[in-house]
Symmetry: C2
Subunit: 200 residues, 2 copies
């Protein structure tokens, strides 16, 4: 059965979404057209508005509708703390933890030489300039605990240290997740938690 | 972190899609804005075009951009066979099986009294009129093999038979799926396949 060009185009566009395969794309398209046309219109308009209106914060790179994002513009945030994350999604997770009240710098990636992502792509120069604003006293490098994230963190720490030996540079603690049972925690995590054990 | 009204609106609209939870909606929104703005625009436009341009075939109810869908308008389909399905997605599956060359009637639902879906909602009168066009000699009731689908099939068969005792009325065969091993097939399916066993 030919679905027709308009429906084919919708299914193709849905397939481009991460985690949506051909079967899901078709199911979503049929659902919207049969049961939720208002939802289709709302999503269509929201996508066009977002693609048009959302840009990167001139200060920290996160996604925002303003020149400077609400976090960077908030005078109650501690300008002495700068947390470096890979993505806006990572930043959002840290915000939701309610454990941090400083500012951010979003790399929009991580070092990955094989994919052609080097220091320029993660805007190292901008980060170095940002950290040297005279207010930042500690940089928390919160990249992922993956090989690439670790390499990125190492590289950032080296460069920051070379520019300013006084700057405090930290990473998030590695260890057993809150609420996890040891039996179901992977051994690398347990090894790291053992190495980084702290006074009770 | 406030995501801002435009991004919040996008995440909310994505959450309305079937199978997309809050976490996936956020992940998709970030992905589109960081890595695939063209994809966001393409999907936005495709959704608006589909919501505006796709309607139901005046003859069989399936989704189409024309007054009469390509299947109904195809003179090479066998007008003596009418296959009754619940949804356009079910119709598509049958088309993809390449095992059927007749026409369709899409109920756009199935009887479900508790949800207020009765004979009128599945357009029984239109189906009865459609089956009485003088060309249809067999109606294949291809509703789901669920309690509601079975009830719908039973109801449709009774009404068709009452109007025209000559009409041949069939259902799809129930049995062990092609490629399935008995060990992993549910016992109800095996029981049905045993009852409906056929000469080898």
């Amino acid at each position: 059965m030919k679905l027709g060009p308009t429906l084919d185009r919708l299914v193709d566009a849905l397939k481009r979404l991460p985690g949506i395969g051909p079967r899901s794309a078709q199911r979503i398209a049929f659902h919207l057209l049969q049961h939720d046309r208002n939802g289709a219109v709302a999503l269509g308009q929201a996508l066009l508005a977002a693609a048009d209106g959302i840009r990167h914060c001139a200060r920290c790179n996160t996604l925002t509708e303003e020149e400077i994002c609400a976090t960077c513009a908030n005078p109650r945030r501690d300008a002495g703390l700068l947390c470096v994350v890979e993505t806006p999604a990572d930043q959002l997770m840290i915000e939701q933890s309610l454990a941090y009240a400083g500012l951010y710098f979003v790399l929009l990636g991580r070092l990955s030489p094989l994919d052609g992502i080097g220091p320029r792509e993660i805007q190292m120069e901008r980060l170095l300039a940002r950290a040297a604003d005279g207010l930042v006293r500690e940089v928390i490098v919160a990249t992922s605990f993956t090989p690439e994230g670790d390499a990125t963190a190492h590289y950032i720490a080296e460069l920051l240290r070379a520019r300013d030996a006084q700057l405090k540079i930290t990473r998030l603690a590695r260890g057993v997740p809150v609420g996890a049972e040891l039996e179901y925690t992977d051994v690398n995590t347990i090894a790291q938690a053992m190495l980084d054990r702290r006074a009770a």
